[in-house]
């Protein structure tokens, strides 16, 4: 079912995606995500010079030319950025575009040669020509991948150090420059080897997208490299299978299977899709996970506020476990529509409140929880008044935000100076009086009397 040539393409793109993902991770972590873009564009004049010198399409010479051009471009960029007037981004743009322009000029020279016929090679360079992949290509990429893996294994610790703390590495006496050049050299080799298969832009993409996607799934470099390799290799497999028609997809609104999708761009779009999924659904860093965390946090804060409101209402008539009307709760504090419902729901699940009739009341557990909260709130207020010299009517809002984060340890520490004075706090664990009229009192319909 899968032809030999498709198998060849499959193996090559998978290997290329995986190794580009691994090497690209180092570039992305060092803030050089676009170095692949630079290298891929800068290769063009090198390819042309290689062609002009040998006089025909000879893979070795053109690859060598491309590698030399890539190294020259990176060196030139560093040199320009050292002038400090031209910033790094502009330096990259200048070298990239001028090298590429030089390549185009050289191409027109080649086209004017009597032998001519470089035009087909040109398009392959731009968009990639996966169908043209042969055994030599696979061997070249496999060799480079093996070399890269060997180097990475040998210098694992050093690369890790240089990636995360180059200054520290320099101080420790590691040859940061040489290690940087080592990684850049490997990236250059992979880029040039991959160009004929996937093309300029798409080679740049293979060096950025898998690492950027992998970054969402882990904080550890070893796992990130593995994830990037899987994402890159996976994009390679998926893209190749789709473009070969083995995994059929349809254009929206059409019956027939989309055919003859170009392999390189398809691979990239598969990578983009994986990236998008990572952005949305990765644990911890993904947008969905962040939204859920935020929602949980908001719910907990709202429930805290509900408990404190019930407690403060109870303080006024001395009946803490009394059911309270919704009107009284709404009067005591400004709630947004859904906030109160969610807060009540959450507090009920936690067993902090129960409903008598339709009215919420604090359970014994809830009273305990509310006491802790009110204590934190008021101790913080007293601390601000006492130590920071803030007026009593200005501390409520601040304490309202902080009360959820004060740990038991911190609360005990806040308690000590107040107990030493012996005025506001007589016994440990006691809930002090509020230094200002509580919101429940202020907003009583009869008017506050504190």
């Amino acid at each position: 079912m899968i032809s030999y040539s498709t198998l060849l393409v499959l193996a090559t793109t998978t290997l290329l995606g995986a190794i580009a993902g691994v090497l690209g991770s180092f570039a992305v972590l060092r803030g050089r995500a676009l170095v692949g873009d630079l290298l891929a564009h800068a290769a063009l004049p090198g390819l042309c010079v290689g062609f002009l010198l040998v006089g025909r399409r000879e893979l070795g010479a053109m690859l060598l030319g491309a590698v030399i051009a890539g190294v020259a471009a990176v060196t030139l960029m560093t040199f320009i950025a050292r002038n400090r007037r031209t910033k790094e981004d502009a330096a990259l743009g200048i070298v990239l575009s001028v090298f590429f322009a030089a390549g185009i000029v050289l191409l027109s020279v080649i086209q004017n040669l009597p032998t001519g016929g470089a035009k087909a090679g040109m398009e392959a360079y731009l968009y990639g020509q996966a169908a043209g992949i042969n055994r030599t290509d696979l061997l070249v990429i496999a060799t480079i991948a093996a070399l890269a893996l060997l180097v990475l294994l040998l210098f694992r610790k050093e690369f890790q150090l240089v990636t995360f703390d180059p200054e520290f590495a320099r101080v420790q006496g590691w040859p940061v420059m040489a290690l940087d050049l080592g990684i850049l050299g490997l990236i250059t080799l992979v880029t040039m080897a991959g160009l004929p298969a996937v093309g300029v832009i798409l080679m740049a993409a293979l060096l950025v997208i898998p690492p950027a996607a992998a970054r969402f799934w882990t904080d550890r470099i070893g796992r990130m490299l593995l994830t990037a390799a899987i994402v890159g290799g996976g994009s390679g497999i998926l893209g190749t299978l789709i473009s070969a028609g083995i995994l059929p997809i349809r254009w929206p609104g059409e019956e027939s299977v989309a055919s003859e999708l170009p392999t390189g761009p398809t691979i990239i779009l598969c990578g983009s899709a994986i990236f998008l999924l990572s952005v949305l659904f990765a644990p911890h860093r993904g947008l969905a996970a962040k939204a859920i965390q935020l929602a949980i946090l908001r719910t907990r804060i709202a429930a805290d506020h509900l408990l404190r409101t019930l407690y403060e209402l109870g303080e006024q008539d001395g009946a803490l476990d009394q059911g309270r009307s919704w009107q009284a709760i709404r009067r005591a504090r400004r709630w947004s529509g859904a906030e109160l419902i969610i807060a009540a729901f959450w507090a009920r699940i936690q067993g902090w409140i129960s409903f008598s009739g339709n009215l919420p009341r604090l359970t014994p557990q809830g009273i305990q929880q509310a006491e802790t909260l009110v204590r934190s709130h008021r101790l913080w207020e007293l601390y601000l008044i006492d130590r920071a010299g803030i007026a009593p009517d200005h501390v409520d809002r601040d304490a309202d935000a902080v009360e959820h984060w004060l740990t038991g340890e911190l609360v005990s520490a806040l308690e000590v100076p107040l107990r030493e004075k012996g005025e506001v706090l007589k016994a440990p664990g006691e809930v002090p009086q509020s230094p200002h009229p509580t919101m429940a009192e202020e907003r009583k319909p009869e008017g506050g009397d504190a």
Partner: protein, 449 residues
């Protein structure tokens, strides 16, 4: 009034048209490029140049033609989309800025390539044109306007150029402030975001308009390179804009000539010549070039040698009245070298020192200069001892370095901080400058230590 043009040789007509179109394209790009370079958004220009591809194809699919309004609409849509996506990924999802740029534009480009293949038969978007530009064929595609044959390229680029000029003129104040102090601009209530997106839209528009002429990558060159060249040559925004436009136009001219002479691709030659201008500026720009920096450093080094020589002679005279140093002693004292010899000759030529039979002697002008150097040296020594509590024997070395950089106002400040102190920590007098006394009475003071 166009008769003279119609009567010209057809080849010359083509040449003039190409140069005019290319100049307009380059100037339109260079104007915006200045702000990209200043705001460190050069790579966003690069990204947009790639990302407009799907915008063009989608615009074509929806409208069925590649008419100008459709193309411009597609460009603006994709420009805003690119800016929004990269910013969203950076701000909301915490992807680093360059990585988010890389992900977005490569993905959009891939989408564009697939769409081209899908609608390839219908869309008049030749990959070769995307890359190379069609500058040479500018005459082939003409519109009839009011009885004149006007190249389509001219009709495309002229409104964009005018729009860019208007943008710069109308938003001059905001651009100036926003480019140099975005925080202040925001604090003063300027809508930084609005400006950012307007700039993005214009870059996208310009890219699309220039795209047909010079090809997508060369748009990047025309956006960034002349602007960066101008940035090397000027510190003032309006001069930088003029220079950038000038370099853009010059690249068009030189590039076209080179392309004719060597029979190569025109747009490529233009971009390469702009790169050559950049290289020249990198070396020879009056303020920021390597050569001028090197010259400044060399001049400073020579001045330091000169001041060391003068100081040495001054101190020798002071140490024993009437003692004259021999040139050989000065060589040895300063470690020798050809530059000491050169500076010594220069000082003699400027009549700062005079070669007498018994040795070197300071002229009145040379004595004044030497006194200023020795004064700053000794003021600094006293300051270090008095106010920083350094021991006496540790202050000579730093003072040797610093003495060349303490100018008159700083000397006054130091003297003020030291009060009426007239002796340095080693007990030698601190020379006064002529404002106080024309020729300080050295012989009397030297008796004191």
């Amino acid at each position: 009034m166009w008769h003279w043009f119609a009567e010209l040789d057809p080849n010359l007509q083509t040449a003039i048209t190409v140069i005019v179109v290319a100049t307009m394209t380059n100037v339109a790009c260079a104007l915006l490029g200045c702000f990209l370079v200043l705001r460190r958004m050069s790579l966003l220009g690069d990204a947009l140049a790639h990302a407009v591809l799907p915008g063009l194809v989608i615009a074509f699919v929806f409208t069925g033609t590649l008419s100008l309004p459709a193309m411009f609409l597609g460009a603006v849509a994709i420009g805003v989309l690119t800016a929004l996506l990269t910013e969203g990924l950076h701000r909301q999802a915490g992807v680093s800025e360059d990585a988010s740029l890389g992900v977005v534009f490569t993905s959009l480009f891939a989408l564009g390539v697939i769409l081209i293949k899908r609608y390839g038969q219908d869309v008049d978007l030749d990959p070769d044109c995307v890359l190379n530009g069609m500058l040479e064929m500018v005459d082939d595609n003409v519109w009839q306007i009011g009885g004149f044959e006007v190249p389509r390229a001219l009709v495309t680029i002229l409104p964009v150029l005018i729009l860019n000029l208007l943008f710069v003129v109308v938003f001059w104040k905001e651009l100036l402030l926003g480019s140099f102090d975005p925080a202040l601009a925001t604090a003063m209530g300027f809508r930084a975001g609005l400006l950012h997106y307007t700039l993005m839209c214009l870059v996208a528009l310009t890219t699309v308009a220039a795209f047909e002429q010079v090809g997508s990558i060369l748009v990047v060159a025309m956006l960034i390179v002349p602007a960066a060249t101008a940035h090397l040559c000027s510190d003032r925004l309006h001069i930088m804009l003029w220079l950038a436009a000038g370099f853009g136009a010059l690249s068009a001219l030189v590039g076209y000539a080179a392309a004719l002479i060597f029979d190569v691709n025109t747009a490529g030659a233009m971009a390469v010549s702009s790169g050559i201008f950049y290289g020249a500026a990198l070396f020879f720009s009056p303020r920021y070039g390597w050569v001028s920096r090197w010259l400044h450093q060399a001049a400073l080094r020579l001045r330091i040698i000169a001041e060391d020589i003068l100081g040495m002679i001054y101190r020798a005279e002071e140490w024993a009245a009437g003692r004259r140093l021999q040139p050989a002693e000065v060589f040895r004292g300063l470690g020798g070298g050809v530059w000491v010899r050169v500076v010594l000759s220069w000082l003699a030529w400027r009549d700062m020192i005079r070669r007498q039979p018994e040795g070197l002697e300071l002229s009145p002008a040379g004595r004044l200069w030497a006194a200023a150097v020795v004064r700053s040296h000794r003021l600094w020594e006293s300051y270090l001892v008095r106010h920083l509590g350094l021991p006496d024997d540790h202050v000579h070395e730093p003072a040797m370095r610093v003495e060349h950089y303490i100018e008159a106002p700083l000397q006054e400040q130091l003297a003020g901080a030291l009060g009426a102190e007239l002796l340095d920590p080693h007990g030698r007098p601190i020379p006064q400058l002529p404002a106080e006394s024309e020729s300080p009475n050295k012989d009397e003071r030297q008796d004191q230590p």
